[in-house]
């Protein structure tokens, strides 16, 4: 089934296009189908929430979308690039250039300061350290951490760490932002701040943002909600709609 949200027509190709994508782990008796023939088109310029109970396949799906996992079957196209046919090294370069990640546990490097952490994707892209630090500083200032540039992750609150992680995810101006439970480790207020920030900074006409969450408090931030269960997409909802519990 190919599902495109009619109430949110796109003016150009979909940012993410999945066709009959499946992911199977193990073989024989231990075989587990994590993703079961999912087809989906997600447009540019919107924040899409991927929701569902634990174990429904959300994380596996974004891993496939982000090029971290290969699909067992089906076609995966991200930012008009066919990941299914992309080799390992090209996929690594593609990720480095086009995808930003925000993780549930932030995954900041504890030995680096906030600004150094935020500059890592630029260093990966080959920028010189001073230039990378300069750009990361600007971005951190824009997310309200201008005074904490030289703080280490251990000296920052969870919300601040997540803001550093968002700055890190956006510093190299990726066209796809993948967020995995960005509010799960935060209190309600910090969670809202983080989601606000993602909306303000990341949602752009030429970008796509996909957020995996099971935090119903953030449903209002999504332009679309893709609800999953047992490895399948069970509901596609527009802004303001809520998935059935």
């Amino acid at each position: 089934m190919t599902t495109t949200m009619q109430q949110h027509p796109t003016t150009r190709g979909a940012a993410i296009q999945l066709r009959g994508v499946s992911k199977v782990f193990g073989t024989g008796d231990t075989k587990v189908t994590a993703i079961d023939t999912v087809s989906l088109d997600l447009p540019y310029g919107e924040l899409v929430l991927l929701v569902g109970p634990s174990g429904c396949g959300k994380t596996t799906l974004i891993s496939i979308v982000a090029g971290l996992l290969d699909a067992s079957a089906g076609e995966v196209s991200v930012l008009e690039h066919n990941l299914t046919r992309m080799g390992g090294n090209r996929k690594v370069r593609f990720r480095g250039a086009n995808i930003g990640f925000v993780f549930q546990q932030y995954n900041l490097l504890p030995a680096l300061t906030a600004v150094e952490n935020a500059s890592v994707p630029l260093l990966i892209a080959g920028w010189s350290r001073p230039k990378a630090i300069e750009k990361a500083s600007d971005l951190l200032a824009s997310v309200g951490l201008g005074s904490r540039l030289k703080s280490y992750p251990s000296q920052l609150s969870g919300g601040q760490q997540q803001r550093v992680a968002i700055a890190r995810a956006l510093v190299h101006e990726p066209r796809l932002l993948v967020c995995d439970e960005p509010t799960a480790a935060l209190d309600a207020a910090s969670g809202r701040t983080v989601m606000d920030l993602i909306r303000q900074v990341a949602v752009q006409p030429d970008r796509a943002v996909i957020v995996v969450t099971h935090d119903s408090r953030v449903y209002d931030f999504g332009d679309r909600i893709v609800s999953m269960a047992d490895g399948k997409v069970v509901e596609l909802l527009g802004k303001g709609q809520r998935p059935h519990e």
Partner: protein
């Protein structure tokens, strides 16, 4: 990204120092034990290195090493002199004599008897600390080595005229020289050959070695071969005699095995400490490595980062270990003055230790590398 790798490495001070400690400990133990081993082995050849002048040692065909004394008849000297290619050949006595000290105690001595006319084999002038070589031609005269003097007379300042008694003959110390430390640690006495014969109990044969020199331009090895062919005696160049002596001690004593075990222990312990700490360090940072992988760091770059970390801890640990061993040797030589040092800290030791440390660092990083290379980048979502 190299900078990120180094910051990751130094970020956890305890682990960082733990890895360096492991490598440094291994480097220290290996280089120190190897230095003592090589020092001991070199000490077995001290007389070969001390007795200079000739480039060929001629001896009984059954002699296996420098302390394996098998006297020859005096006419062998004439036969060696008659071999084509031999420029000159002189007699040399080297053996153990028993000396009676002024307090009535007895002490074993290494006695070296030099050719009366030429004194070939005597210490070099720059190694003479007191007296003149010519004084050896005085009746009953002997030179004693520096350590021997300290061994017999403690910290008393050197004075000409101190006497010993060997074979009921009075030996008068007329000079002191520097000698390489010996394996047996006995004092060394130099005297003329004719004097040495008198210091020994009556024996039918006293000629233990013949020192010879080949004609100018002749290869010592060829001259050795000619001597062996024409006289049936064993003839070795200085180098050959040096290595055959070392080979004897290597094969016939437990020294290499015992030291080898300690060196191996140092290597294994170093591998274990450094490897385990480095591996744990990688395991704890696995999510960070995964995040870097997800963000587009290639496997080759990750391997480079891990190798850089290993290189840094390897270099620092090696430097500390080698420095520690050098300091040990330096202190040992200055603090323990009563016994000759058995500590040879040559470039070979540093090279071998560097090789072992490289293996330790590589082994430690290979384990870690394996984990990182086979790490699914998707781990960051778990």
């Amino acid at each position: 990204m190299n900078w990120v790798a180094l910051r990751m490495l130094t970020g956890d001070r305890a682990k960082y120092l733990g890895i360096i400690f492991g490598v440094a400990f291994a480097a220290l133990l290996m280089s120190q034990q190897l230095s003592i081993f090589c020092g001991l082995m070199r000490n077995t050849t001290s007389q070969i290195r001390d007795i200079e002048g000739g480039d060929i040692w001629v001896m009984d065909k059954n002699v296996q090493f420098v302390d394996d004394v098998k006297p020859m008849s005096e006419n062998k000297l004439l036969r060696v002199r008659g071999v084509e290619g031999v420029q000159w050949a002189v007699r040399l006595y080297k053996g153990i004599a028993r000396a009676r000290l002024s307090d009535g105690n007895f002490q074993q001595m290494i006695l070296i008897g030099l050719d009366d006319a030429t004194l070939v084999g005597a210490p070099r002038p720059d190694r003479i600390l007191h007296g003149e070589l010519g004084d050896l031609r005085q009746p009953n005269a002997v030179f004693i080595d520096e350590f021997g003097w300290r061994y017999l007379f403690g910290n008393e300042p050197f004075q000409v005229g101190r006497t010993l008694e060997m074979n009921d003959k009075r030996a008068v110390i007329v000079g002191m020289c520097k000698c390489n430390p010996t394996f047996q640690t006995f004092p060394i006495l130099y005297c003329t050959y004719s004097q040495a014969v008198q210091f020994l109990p009556q024996e039918r044969k006293t000629l233990t070695f013949i020192l010879a020199k080949g004609n100018d331009g002749a290869f010592p090895e060829s001259v050795c071969a000619a001597i062996h062919e024409q006289t049936g005696l064993k003839a070795l160049t200085n180098d050959q005699f040096f290595w055959s002596t070392i080979q004897y001690y290597m094969q016939r004593t437990g020294i290499p095995i015992n030291f080898g075990i300690t060196v191996m222990l140092g290597f294994v312990v170093g591998c274990a400490i450094a490897g385990q700490t480095f591996y744990l360090f990688t395991l704890e940072n696995l999510k960070q490595w995964g995040a870097l992988k997800a963000m587009g760091v290639s496997n080759i770059r990750l391997v480079g980062m891990i190798l850089l970390q290993a290189l840094v801890v390897g270099l620092i640990g090696y430097g500390l270990g080698i420095g520690g061993a050098a300091l040990f040797g330096y202190t040992f030589e200055r603090v323990v003055t009563s016994t000759p040092p058995a500590f040879y800290f040559g470039w070979q030791i540093m090279g071998i230790t560097a090789g072992a440390v490289t293996v330790i660092a590589l082994a430690a990083s290979l384990l870690s590398m394996r984990r990182v290379l086979f790490l699914e980048a998707g781990v960051v979502f778990r």
